[in-house]
C-alpha cells in the first residue's frame, strides 16, 4: 500500500511530475545521443587510421625504430609474406619499402615519405584505390607512375600525368633521383598520409636505389577482426625474429583517443546527472513541503519514520523508473533513425573532421550495455536525490503538523 501511496502521490501534481520526468527523459536521451556521437566520431578516427594507414599489425627490423630507413630491412621477407596462408586470421598482407625523400615539381619541392608498394597487396590492405579522386591506380602510366595526395598535388601545383622528380638516398647515402609521372591523385581518410606520403611501385624504387625486389622495411597485416589481435601477434612473434607490433603499440594515439572519449562521455554524463540530481531534489523537496501537514498526520497516526523515508524514496524512484525508459527509447529511436537514413550529415564540418581523420557522416554507435548502465546510473541518481527530501520528511514533527490543522 505504501507503493500504491507513493505512485498516487506522484500524480498529485501532474504538471510538476511531468516536468521532472521530461527532464530525466531528455537528460537520458541527450546522454545516449552524445555517447553515440562520441563513439561514432572516435570510432571513425580509429577505424580510418587502422584500415587506411597503420593496419592491425606491422613488422619491422628491431633496429628500424631507432633509425628508420633502408638500413634496417626486415629479415626473411618471403617468410613474412607466407603468414597470410599460415595464419587464418590474416585478411591481407603488404610489404613496403619506406624511405624519406623529396618530391620536386617545376613550381616547388617538398619533403615527403616515399611508400614503395606492391599495388595489388596495398589495395587489399589499405583500400588505397578507393581514395583515388583523379587519374587512376597505377594503370595508365606505364613507366614510373606515382600517386600523390590531393593536398601535396595542390602544393606542388601538379595534375594527373604531370611529371615530378623524386630524390632519395640509397643504402650508401648516395643521392638518387628519378622522374615519375602522376598516375593518380588520392584523398585518404588518414591525415598523416594526406600530409606527406606518396606512393610508387616497389619495383620502380628498387631500380632507382639498386635494391633487390625482396627488400622491404615494413610489412603490414590486415586482420579479419580485431578480436584476434593479440593472439595473432603472438603467433607471428613465434615465427619471426623481426619486431611485431600492434597498431596500439605503433600509434599510442589510439589509446589516447579512446581514453579522451571515455573521459568526455563520463564528464557529460556526470554534468547531466548533476543537473537531474538537483532537479529531482528540488521537485521532491517541494512535494514534501507541500505535504507537511499530511506527513505530520501520517506520523501522528503511527507511520514510522522509515516508512515515510521509504515512501519518498519510492516516489523518486518511480518518477525515474517511468521517465528513464522513455529517454532510453527516444535515444534508441534517434539512433535507429540515423542508421536507416544514411547517418547524420555533418559535411559542413568535413574539413575540421578530416583534420582528425574523422568522417563527415556519423553513424551513431552505442553498446547495448550502455542502455542498462545508464538506467542504473539514473536510478542511482534518483536514489541519491531522494535522500535529502526524505530526511526532511522524516524530521517533520507530527505535533507541528497537527498544530497547523
Amino acid at each position: 500500500m505504501i507503493l500504491s501511496l507513493a505512485w498516487k502521490n506522484i500524480w498529485r501534481s501532474k504538471r510538476r511530475s511531468f516536468v521532472v520526468m521530461s527532464a530525466v527523459a531528455i537528460g537520458v536521451w541527450s546522454i545516449i545521443f552524445m555517447v553515440s556521437f562520441y563513439n561514432s566520431m572516435t570510432g571513425a578516427i580509429s577505424r580510418n587510421s587502422l584500415q587506411h594507414d597503420y593496419s592491425h599489425i606491422q613488422i619491422h627490423h628491431e633496429g628500424y625504430l631507432s633509425e628508420p630507413g633502408l638500413g634496417f630491412q626486415v629479415k626473411n621477407p618471403s617468410r613474412l609474406l607466407e603468414f597470410s596462408s599460415q595464419i587464418s586470421d590474416i585478411e591481407a598482407t603488404t610489404g613496403r619499402l619506406i624511405v624519406n625523400g623529396m618530391v620536386a615539381s617545376p613550381k616547388t619541392n617538398l619533403g615527403i615519405q616515399v611508400y614503395a608498394i606492391d599495388p595489388a597487396n596495398e589495395a587489399a590492405v589499405t583500400d588505397l584505390p578507393s581514395f583515388i579522386i583523379a587519374g587512376d591506380y597505377f594503370i595508365n602510366i606505364k613507366r614510373n607512375p606515382i600517386l600523390l595526395s590531393q593536398k601535396l598535388a595542390e602544393k606542388l601545383k601538379v595534375k594527373v600525368r604531370s611529371k615530378v622528380v623524386i630524390t632519395v638516398q640509397d643504402l650508401e647515402a648516395n643521392i638518387r633521383a628519378g622522374a615519375f609521372r602522376v598516375s593518380g591523385i588520392f584523398h585518404s581518410k588518414s591525415p598523416r598520409i594526406n600530409n606527406g606520403v606518396i606512393y610508387l611501385r616497389h619495383e620502380d624504387l628498387s631500380k632507382l636505389i639498386n635494391l633487390p625486389d625482396t627488400a622491404f622495411n615494413e610489412f603490414a597485416y590486415l586482420l579479419k577482426d580485431n578480436e584476434s589481435l593479440i593472439e595473432t601477434k603472438q603467433m607471428m612473434e613465434a615465427k619471426t625474429n623481426n619486431m611485431v607490433r600492434t597498431y596500439r603499440e605503433i600509434a599510442p594515439e589510439f589509446d589516447m583517443i579512446e581514453e579522451g572519449s571515455a573521459i568526455s562521455k563520463q564528464v557529460i554524463t556526470v554534468i547531466v546527472m548533476l543537473a537531474l540530481l538537483f532537479g529531482i531534489i528540488n521537485t521532491m523537496l517541494m512535494a514534501v513541503l507541500e505535504r507537511t501537514k499530511e506527513i505530520g498526520m501520517l506520523r501522528a497516526i503511527g507511520m514510522f519514520k522509515r516508512k515515510i523515508f521509504l515512501m519518498i524514496v519510492l516516489e523518486t524512484f518511480m518518477i525515474s523508473l517511468v521517465s528513464a525508459p522513455v529517454g532510453l527509447m527516444a535515444g534508441f529511436l534517434t539512433n535507429v533513425y540515423f542508421e536507416k537514413n544514411g547517418g547524420m550529415d555533418l559535411s559542413q564540418y568535413a574539413g575540421a573532421l578530416e583534420q582528425y581523420g574523422g568522417d563527415a557522416i556519423f553513424y551513431p554507435q552505442i553498446a547495448q550495455s550502455t542502455y542498462l548502465l545508464l538506467m542504473l546510473v539514473v536510478m542511482m541518481t534518483a536514489l541519491i536525490g531522494a535522500i535529502y527530501p526524505a530526511i526532511k520528511a522524516v524530521n517533520l514533527k507530527p505535533l507541528e503538523a497537527i498544530r497547523k490543522l
Binding site: 501511496l5 497516526i301 497537527i402 490543522l405
Partner: protein
Amino acid sequence: MKVIELKNLSKIYNPETIPVRAINDVTLSVKEGEFTAIVGPSGCGKTTLLNMIGGLDISSEGSVEVGGVSIQDMNESQLTAFRLQHIGFVFQAYNLIPVFTAKENIEFIMVLQNMDAKTMQERSDDLLDRMGIKNQKNRRPSELSGGQQQRVAVARALAARPKFVLADEPTANLDSGSTEDLLDIMAKLNKEEKITFIFSTHDQRVIDRAKRVITLEDGVIISDEHR
C-alpha cells in the same frame, strides 16, 4: 478500568526565557467507555492536553499513563508504535490521504499495523457500513462532503482498534446536520462497543451529548462534571 491516568501534569513553554504554563498541575483519569469532552476558551490548554495524552507532546512535569503504561520516557519510535497500536486520532480538518479512496484511507492504518488482508477487508467493510458510507467507499476525500470525510476519519481512527479515540474539535468544520449524524455514530459506538472518546471542543452540541465534561481555564481544571 482506567484507560488514561494523568498525575500532576504540567506543560511549560519557554521554561528558560519567559515561562508559559499551558497546563498546570492537572491530575485526571479517564475510564474505559467514557464519552468525555474537554472544554474551555481558546488558549486554555485543551489541545496541549490532548497532545500529551496522545503522545504527540511531552509534559514538563508529572506523568501520563495509558492503559497502565507510562509514556513519559518513551523514545520517538516507541511513541509512534504506541500511537499506532493504542490511540485513534480524529482531526478538525479530517486529514485524510487525498489520493486514497475512503476504503483505502481506513485500510491504510491497518496496513501500518501489518494486519492480514482478509481481516483488513472485513474490518474496513464493517466500519464503512457502521459509518453509513458504504456507498462512498470508492470515492476520494475530494468527492465526499465534510460530514462524510469526518466519518471516514472516525472509521480510520477505529480501524486500528485503539484503546481510545482522541478527537480535536471534530465538528468544527461540519454543518449541524453532519454534526448530529457524526455524534450519533460516535455515541452509538461508545454505548454499544464501549469505545472511549475524548473530545476537545467548543461545540455546545458535543458538550450536550458528552457524559463527562472537563472544563479547563488557564491550564487548570476548574470543573469535572459527570452526567
